[in-house]
Amino acid sequence: MPIRPIHALLMVPVALVAGTAYATEYLTAPQAQQAIFPDADQFIDATVELSDAQRSAIEKQAGVRQRWKKQAVWRAEKAGQLIGWFIVDEVVGKHEFITYAAGLTPDGRVRGIEILAYRETYGYQIRTTEWRQKFVGKTLADAFKLDEDVPNISGATLSCQNITKGVKRLLVLQQVVLNRR
């Protein structure tokens, strides 16, 4: 038996989707580079193509999946000397990917993180300096656990969790790939 009222119900989501589009980008990659490494005088593209073996090694050590084969990385240099790595990464948010950048020092410490694009319903506090500051100085010796060394933001737990695990994964990527270059 045909269910004709379905036709009317179908009209509603179609109209909703057709009428809505959004994108919230807070910083571009160059702006984030300047924010994390204001002392750098040049950023050299050092994009990484990861082999399957490298991805497996990262996943094993970080405890989280290395989703991307290609990772956008720049060498931050001052007077020709490496002062850190700048990495743009994406992690799963509730609806869309969250784009963020992390600056890592050559000895494997987080110099800072910046949120480039965040489009979720709740949790805009992750952009605050107070929350991002919790990552500064972290190394792979730290726990990277919500409510332990990184505060959770209610309504955005998945986002906080994935960024926290993401930053740890980038430190592992540095150790497994960048430091061996």
Binding site: P5, P13, A15, R65, L146, G155
Partner: protein, 298 residues
């Protein structure tokens, strides 16, 4: 009458679109998630459920639910819901269940207050776990469209698990509902037609599960399975049914919509005289069910 229900659904949908606001995100049509709203957050949700086809005669019903939900704390959420009913039934009379033809576009049918308490977070803990408790009063019988006082208390355990960083979501619910129901007298029924007006007690057990995958940004696709059985004072096990089907979800920053088709695939218990689909329960349930949920987050 079908057209009236169709128009009613479209008008309510349009009203939703014209409202500038409002609900706790439902990735599924029927399975509830364990995640609570954050403290101070509020959302609005509108359901439209079309139930149709009892195998004989004409039967189409539109259930609506309008809900406002508020995050009291980061773990405790409370909500108020108004239910509505539109129905068109003719050509099928069942003792104690369908006394006569009924046809109206929409009436308010019941009220519910509910709470949700979150014990474990699906994003932080191994599994997310919440308890859901609801108290409701219905003055319309959602099966027959006739007057009936129905008082219910429902308790559900809600479990939720993230996989692939949250790209794949698995959820399950287990619940019990206790109901006291009293039919209102109806004048002019045939003398041999049964329409008891003494109070009945019913116990309903529900188990459901769903899995959904984010296949593109903002879009989830998945499936749900929903088992329900009801026992009551007069007949013992009155019915059981299994419904299963696909679900499609779109979630944006401020609003979301979920469309679920959940036909009955197996069922049993009481059957009406002459029922030909003997592997389904078609007295209180129907062959087809489709639900659209729309939510808006403040």
């Amino acid at each position: 009458m079908k057209n009236k229900i169709k128009v009613g659904a479209a008008v309510l949908g349009a009203l939703m679109l014209s409202a500038t606001s409002f609900a706790d995100e439902g990735l599924f049509g029927y399975v509830r998630l364990a995640e609570p709203l954050p403290k101070g957050a509020m959302d609005f949700e509108q359901w439209f459920t079309v139930r149709s086809d009892k195998g004989e005669g004409q039967y189409t019903a539109l259930d609506t639910k309008t809900e406002i939900e508020w995050g009291v704390t980061d773990r405790f959420t409370t909500s108020v819901e108004l239910y509505g009913l539109g129905i068109n039934t003719s050509g099928l009379m069942i003792d104690a269940y369908l006394p006569k033809d009924a046809s109206y576009v929409w009436k308010p049918a019941g009220l519910e207050v509910a709470t949700k308490y979150n014990f474990l977070s699906p994003a932080k803990d191994w599994i997310g776990l919440s308890q859901y408790v609801a108290f409701s009063y219905f003055w319309e019988d959602v099966h027959s469209g006739q007057r009936k006082d129905v008082y219910s208390v429902e308790g559900l355990l809600l479990a939720q698990k993230y996989f692939m960083d949250g790209q794949l979501v698995l959820a399950g619910n287990l619940g019990v509902e206790a109901t006291s129901a009293t039919r209102k007298p109806i004048d002019g029924l045939p003398p041999d037609f049964e329409w008891p007006t003494t109070p009945e007690m019913e116990i309903e057990v529900t188990a459901s599960a769903g899995i959904t995958y984010r296949f593109a940004e903002n879009w989830f696709i998945g499936g749900e399975i929903f088992y329900q059985t009801e026992h009551e004072t007069v007949v013992g096990q009155e019915r059981w049914s299994v419904q299963a089907g696909p679900t499609l979800h779109y979630g944006a920053k401020k609003w979301w919509a979920t469309l679920t088709w959940l036909p009955q695939i197996r069922g049993g218990g009481l059957m009406y005289p002459g029922q030909t689909d003997t592997d389904l329960h078609l007295i209180e349930k129907t062959k087809q069910e489709i639900r659209l949920r729309i939510g808006y987050n403040f």
